[in-house]
Amino acid sequence: MVMEPAAARASQGAASDITLLVEQAQAGDETAFEALYRLHVGRINALCRRMLGDARWAEDVVQDAFVRAWRMLGGFRRESSFGSWLYRLTVNVVLLELRSAKRRRARVVTCEDVTEFEENRPAAEPESALDLEKAIAGLPEQARIVFVLHEIEGYQHEEIGQMLGTAVGTSKAQLHRARQLLRERLVR
C-alpha cells in the first residue's frame, strides 16, 4: 500500500511529528490520523489480542478503538503522550467490549482461537514467548486481563482495580491465579 505523504513522514517516528499529526488530526485531517494509526496499530493490536485472547475479535476492537479515538481527539489535552492516551482509551474499549460480550453471550473464546493465534504468529519468534502467548490466551478472562495489564503493560494493582471496578486485593488474587495457571501450563 502506498502511504500518503503525512503517513510517510510519520514513519520516522519523531515526537514532534506526532504532535503535528495530532494537531492536524484534531482539525479533521484524516490523512494525519491514518499516519497515527499506522504508527500505533501494532501495539494497539497486541494489547487487544492479549486482553481478549482472540485474534479476529481483537481486530474488530482495534477498529472500534481508533474510531473512538478519532471522535474523542478534541478532548485530548496533551497531559500525556498521544500513545499513552490511545493506550488507556483502548484498555477501556476492551473492557466495554468484554462487558457487552458477557451479556450477549454470543462470543466465546475457544480453543480454535488459540490455535489461530499461534498460526498467525511470526515464525521467527522464540518458542518460549510463543508458548507464553498461547498460555495467556487460554487463561480465564479476569485472570488474563489482570495478568496482561500488570505483567505486560506495567499497570499497578491500584490502577487495575480502578479500571475494573474491583478491589486491589481482587486484582492481586487474579494475578496470583494467573501465575499459578501459567505455571501448570508451561512448567511440566
Binding site: E30, V41, G74, G75, R77, N92, A129, V187
Partner: protein, 381 residues
C-alpha cells in the same frame, strides 16, 4: 496468614511497599516454605518471559479502510472549555451575554411572529420525528438481578429505553443500560433514573435517587446526568454517582474526568478524587480519596462555611502536594483574606510558575488561574 496471601504480597515485598513487620514475616516464611519459594522463583521467571514478548503484533489485514469508512462522515469534536469553579450565584465571566433586543415595528412584528410560529411547528415536527428515530434503539436495558422495572413493566432483556421513560430498581434488583454506542450505565438497587435526551450531540439522563456507575467512551460533554443538586458532565471517564434521600450527591471518579456543575459553579473531579454536591448549594470542593481524614473533615467544614478561619487553618496544615486539586478549586470560592492564605500554602507546596503572579491569582484573573491549573494537573494523577 495463608501461603496464598503471602504469595500475593510478594510483588509488594520486591518493590519495597510492605511495612517492616510484614516484610520480616514474609521473608522468614520464605526461608521455611518450599512452595512459596518455588512460587517466587516462578514469578521472577515469568517476568523475564513476559519481557521477551514482542511489543507489537501487526493485524492480519489492513484495518484502515474499514476505519476510514466509519470516521469519514464525522469530524473530531472540538475540545471542551473548562470553566472556573465559581461561588454559587456568581456570573461566570466566560459566559457571553445575549445582545439586547430591540422592539420591532408592528407590521414587521406580526410577520415575524407568523414566521416564527411556522418555523417552530416545523421544528417541533422534525424534533418529534428525530426523537423517535434516534431513540428507538439508542438505549437498551438489561436486568442483572431481580426485576428492574421500566414504568410499570418488568424490563425484558434488551428492552429499548426511550426518552421520558423511568427505570427503577428495588432492593433486590440491578440493571445495566447500553447508552447508544458510547458506554454503559449500571443502576444499583433502590435507584431510579429517567432518560431525558438521546441524540448524536447529547445523551442526558436524570438520576432521581440511588446509585449508578458509568463507563463512558465518548467525546467530552456528550453524556450528562442530572441530579437534584448538580449536573454531572462526562469528560471521558468511569465514575460512580449516588443521590441520597435529600437529593444530595456523591461522586467518585475512577478514570478520566467528570465536571459537576450548578448555576455557573463547577468542580472538576479527576480519577481518584471525589466530590459532594448539596441540594441548593451545588458541588463542593473536590478532594482526593487518599487525602487524610483531617483534610477531608476540614474541607467539609470550609465548604459549609463552619468556623471558616479555624477550619481553613486545619485544612492547609493537613494538605499535601496532591491536595492542590482542592486548594486550587478553593481560590475563587473564598473571600480575599482567606484566598491569600491558600495562595501562600499552594506556593509552599508547589511554587507558582513565573507567569502566575500573586496579584493576578488574588484578583481571580481567569487565564492566570487556568495556566496554574495546567501546571498543577501533572500532580493530580
Amino acid at each position: 496468614m495463608s501461603c496464598q496471601k503471602r504469595q500475593e504480597q510478594l510483588d509488594d515485598l520486591l518493590t519495597g511497599r510492605l511495612a517492616a513487620a510484614e516484610r520480616l514475616e514474609i521473608e522468614r516464611h520464605l526461608l521455611a516454605c518450599t512452595e512459596c519459594r518455588s512460587y517466587a522463583a516462578w514469578s521472577r521467571e515469568l517476568v523475564g518471559l513476559a519481557a521477551e514478548l514482542p511489543d507489537t503484533i501487526e493485524p492480519s489485514r489492513d484495518l484502515w479502510p474499514d476505519i476510514l469508512s466509519r470516521i469519514s462522515d464525522r469530524k473530531p469534536r472540538s475540545a471542551h472549555v473548562i470553566r472556573l469553579p465559581l461561588r454559587s450565584g456568581v456570573t461566570n465571566p466566560t459566559q457571553t451575554k445575549p445582545a439586547p433586543k430591540q422592539a420591532p415595528s408592528r407590521p414587521f412584528a406580526i410577520a415575524a411572529a407568523l414566521f416564527v410560529l411556522i418555523a417552530l411547528s416545523s421544528l417541533l415536527t422534525y424534533n418529534l420525528n428525530q426523537q423517535q428515530t434516534t431513540t428507538e434503539a439508542a438505549w437498551t436495558v438489561t436486568g442483572l438481578a431481580g426485576a428492574p422495572r421500566v414504568g410499570f413493566e418488568v424490563a425484558s432483556e434488551g428492552r429499548p429505553l426511550r426518552v421520558g421513560e423511568w427505570l427503577e430498581t428495588d432492593a433486590g434488583s440491578r440493571a445495566e443500560i447500553e447508552v447508544a454506542d458510547i458506554g454503559q450505565v449500571e443502576l444499583r438497587p433502590n435507584s431510579r433514573l429517567r432518560v431525558l435526551q438521546s441524540g448524536a450531540n447529547e445523551h442526558r439522563m436524570a438520576l432521581d435517587k440511588g446509585s449508578m456507575s458509568a463507563l463512558i467512551l465518548a467525546p467530552p460533554r456528550l453524556f450528562l446526568v442530572e441530579t437534584p443538586s448538580a449536573l454531572a458532565v462526562d469528560l471521558g471517564c468511569a465514575y460512580e454517582l449516588t443521590v441520597d434521600g435529600q437529593g444530595n450527591g456523591h461522586l467518585a471518579v475512577s478514570s478520566g474526568w467528570v465536571a459537576l456543575e450548578f448555576q455557573g459553579m463547577q468542580s472538576l473531579v479527576p480519577a481518584g478524587a471525589s466530590c459532594v454536591s448539596r441540594r441548593g448549594l451545588g458541588p463542593g470542593t473536590p478532594f482526593f480519596l487518599d487525602s487524610t481524614p483531617e483534610f477531608q473533615n476540614a474541607l467539609n467544614a470550609v465548604d459549609l462555611g463552619r468556623s471558616l478561619d479555624a477550619s481553613l487553618g486545619n485544612l492547609l496544615a493537613a494538605s499535601r502536594v496532591r491536595d492542590t486539586l482542592s486548594l486550587w478549586h478553593l481560590l475563587p470560592r473564598l473571600p480575599r483574606a482567606q484566598r491569600e492564605l491558600v495562595w501562600n500554602r499552594l506556593n509552599q507546596l508547589l511554587p507558582a510558575p513565573p507567569n502566575v503572579t500573586r496579584d493576578a491569582v488574588l484578583n481571580l484573573d481567569q487565564p492566570t488561574l487556568e495556566r496554574w491549573k495546567e501546571d498543577l494537573e501533572s500532580f493530580w494523577f
